[in-house]
Amino acid sequence: MIDIWLLVGIGSGIISVGAALYLYYWVMRQDAGSERAQEVARWIREGAASYLKRLYIALTLVCVVLGFIIAIVFSFDLTQLGTGSVDVEPMRGVIMAAAFVFGAVSSAIAGYLGMGVAVQANVRSAVAVSDSINKGFRVAFYAGSVMGLTMVGLAVIGMCAIFYLTGEPEVILGFSFGASTLALLAKAGGGIYTKTADIAADLVGKIEVGIPEDDPRNPAVVADNVGDNVGDVAGMGADIFDSYVASTVAAMLLGAAMTGPDSLKYTVFPLILCILGIYASLIGIQFVRVGKNGKPGPALNFGTVITCIIFGAMVTALVLLGGYDLSTLWSTLIGLVVGVVVGFTTEYFTSEEYKPVKETARVSNSGAAITIITGFSYGLLSILPSVIGIVIATLVSFYISEASGVITGIYGIGISAVGMLSISGMVVSSDAYGPIVDNARGIAEMAGMDHSVIVKADVLDSAGNTAKAITKGFSISAAALTVLALFAAYAEIIEARGISVEISLRNPLVIAGVFLGAMTPPIFSALTMLSVTHNAFDMIEEIRRQFKEEPGILAGKVLPDYTKCVSLAAHGALSSLVLPAFLAVGLPLLVGFVLGPDALGGFLGGAIFTGVIFALLMSNAGGLWDNAKKFIETGQYGGVGSEAHKAGVVGDMVGDPFKDTAGPSLNTLITVMSLVSSLFAPVIAAFHIF
């Protein structure tokens, strides 16, 4: 029966990828518009392709090095480490390394396809929206669905195939680590790229020269539009792919750690949830349609809610008919509900419909300092509902599962995380829609389309911003539950080696670990944001140089050299990743090998707590400042160009690296650190100084 589920999983993954390919070709059949529009889209497409090429070269190098290390380390029978004699099984090391590479490649393919369709759909959405908002919306959302469906499809194929072939969830850990490695490069690199271009384009274009947003005279305008894709499509997709796989493998490891005849059944249960999630997303996507009111936001929200209901019904049927303990149903549902609720509470703090954004816009009349203080304070407050949601999901799933006497409490938490992420197909579809319509608006502007098209593209864009904010809240909460499960998996792996993990605050090694771990997310944030400012200054110099050497650019007679800025952003983003990557991969190993497993446990705990807090604060405060500025631009408190607007622009600029660089990258950071720790836990258990 287990094998059948795994084969069904592979088949479902293929169906999901097939549906994505169908949508890809549907999008490609849409009208690509005038020659001018196509030319602008081509600039963006070529910029995105050149960044992806560099990213994948960097990934290949990382894969070769890490794959080699993994192949060697896992060639040894880790269960015998420290016993005096260790058997060498080279095949095991090769399988682990292959799983690692497979994970990275699967995530890369999903990102490639997602971004490939996004840079084709942007211009098509701009053309379609000139007919109607509904048409423009459909093109953008179906293009976003290509990313969502490919991502979940490839993830499920990968996990099911590995478990079918090896029967060991630990090998899926390698797959997950591969996906996380790409996610770290894609998310942090994409975040640095997008904000480097955005800030440089604004500082010189808007402030020094006085040209508006998306003006084709700005040499950084293409890099800015490319950045939307590499940060929000490829980056966010890789991030959720990573959390999706990590949560599943964590729950599988915890299922495998349970004793009893049903251990295997519960080990595979997370995979079955993923399979059901694929079908729920496939059906849910059909319900996403803009109604007569022409509002895309409610259409996206309706699709998410419908997907949840369908998924909930499917899981109920599975648990009742499949003979699973009812606690698995409650754990799944609590994760699902909390995920959606946290997503929508994020909307409260970042949407211009509600008090936090309105209040921040109102006080902007008094200057940028008050804008920053107010937005930051609401950002801090926004932590509250998400943390309460995470606490509720953790406690409810733990105690219900413990009370069942069938599954462990910690397994329940793992299932809760999987429940939250199971509808990722739908969530990523909505998220990837955002940068596509953002680009569509930019293309409409750059290609000189009629103002009515820009107005309609604005309607699509504003719904995309809200969708992005909801996804960020969702992905941070999901990552928090995932790493809690991974944390437990780490402890299980260590204890399986006969070493008791004692994570007590009375232990000075644990205290040291907690402090070091708690320090890591802020340091990581600082490094990535400093990279943005450093790279932005290089790009600013380039933009100034072009304006100075070719005055015809500003006069609109000569096109700027867009490729220079695209290249600077790509090179700067990837070369800035060395230190942050060391923090994510090297620091946990350093702490583990030097201070031991207890300290590493404390390290992970500290990193998880500050990571979640920082991620929520930065993402929400950044989104809030962005929308406060947009709210002023609607004509409130003086509108564009007013003193309130100038303060709003400062807030937005501060918030940009918060919400698009550091904040969302922290999910990946804590996931990578937890995965590295779990993967190398047996080695750390055998070799540590303290």
């Binding site: 500003l554 408190y637 160009g641």
Partner: protein, 254 residues
């Protein structure tokens, strides 16, 4: 090639140029040759206009194409006291150029805006450029500072724009603050209140406004007049600007 005569208001200058108004605006604002930067406001003057005060003929003669065949961008004929020495009848269209070189042309209108009452905010553009509040409508303000001044101060000619005061026009003490081209709101309120409580018809708010000409806050248009006559150049409303002059409007509202 045709030689145009332009009366620039920032700075005040009479210029001969082979560029069309749109090209001249871009050239003037983003400085393809001279590296000069910033907003521009200029009138096109009747090309037949001649005056003993200016060496126009000499300037026109020097305005010849370059060796490579490109048009001559500018020959400065005169700076300082230009506006007062050009009869308003010689003034044709008004052009507003944004800081990034987008130009909007405005034609004169025979119809002046009606005075809606309340208080007014004016930005003088030439020959001096303070921000002033007044209890007088545009015509009254022009009469007050050019034709029939009640004090010793008298301008030979003036160009100014009325800016939107919003709710403050009726209720300077408690009115809601909208988009205003001045940061110190309390000071602005005090100036407006003094128009109601003291026997003054104008009050200077800011001697040297630092934010250029805020096109986005212009209420109805631009006024230019001398001892004899005043002209009015209405600015289209926001709806028309957005639909017909979108590129200019975007740059103007930066």
């Amino acid at each position: 090639m045709t030689v145009h005569l332009y009366l620039s208001l920032i700075p005040e200058a009479l210029i001969a140029s082979m560029l069309s108004p749109e090209e001249f605006g871009a050239y003037y604002a983003v400085g393809t040759q001279k590296k000069s930067r910033g907003q521009a406001i200029f009138f096109e003057i009747d090309p037949k206009f001649r005056s003993d005060f200016f060496h126009i003929e000499e300037g026109v003669k020097r305005c010849v194409v370059h060796e490579d065949g490109s048009p001559k961008s500018s020959i400065y004929i005169s700076v300082y006291r230009v506006l007062e020495n050009i009869p308003v009848d010689a003034i044709q269209s008004l052009y507003l150029t944004t800081q990034d070189g987008r130009t909007l042309g405005l034609d004169k209108s025979t119809q002046f805006p009606e005075d809606e009452g309340g208080l007014h905010l004016y930005r003088e553009i030439s020959p001096v450029s303070p921000l002033v509040v007044s209890s007088q409508g545009p015509k009254g303000f022009y009469e007050l500072i050019v034709k029939n001044p009640t004090s010793l101060i008298k301008l030979p000619a003036v160009c100014f724009a009325e800016l939107r005061l919003g709710d403050l026009a009726e209720d300077p003490q408690k009115g809601k603050i909208g988009d205003l081209p001045y940061k110190n709101m309390e000071h602005l309120r005090n100036c407006l209140v003094s128009l109601k409580t003291k026997f003054v018809m104008t009050k200077m708010v800011d001697r040297l406004p630092s934010n250029g000409i805020p096109f986005r806050t212009v209420k109805n248009g631009f006024f230019v007049g001398n001892q004899k006559k005043m002209l009015f150049f209405p600015l289209p409303d926001e709806k028309e600007l957005v639909s017909k002059h979108y590129q200019w409007w975007r740059s103007a509202t930066m």
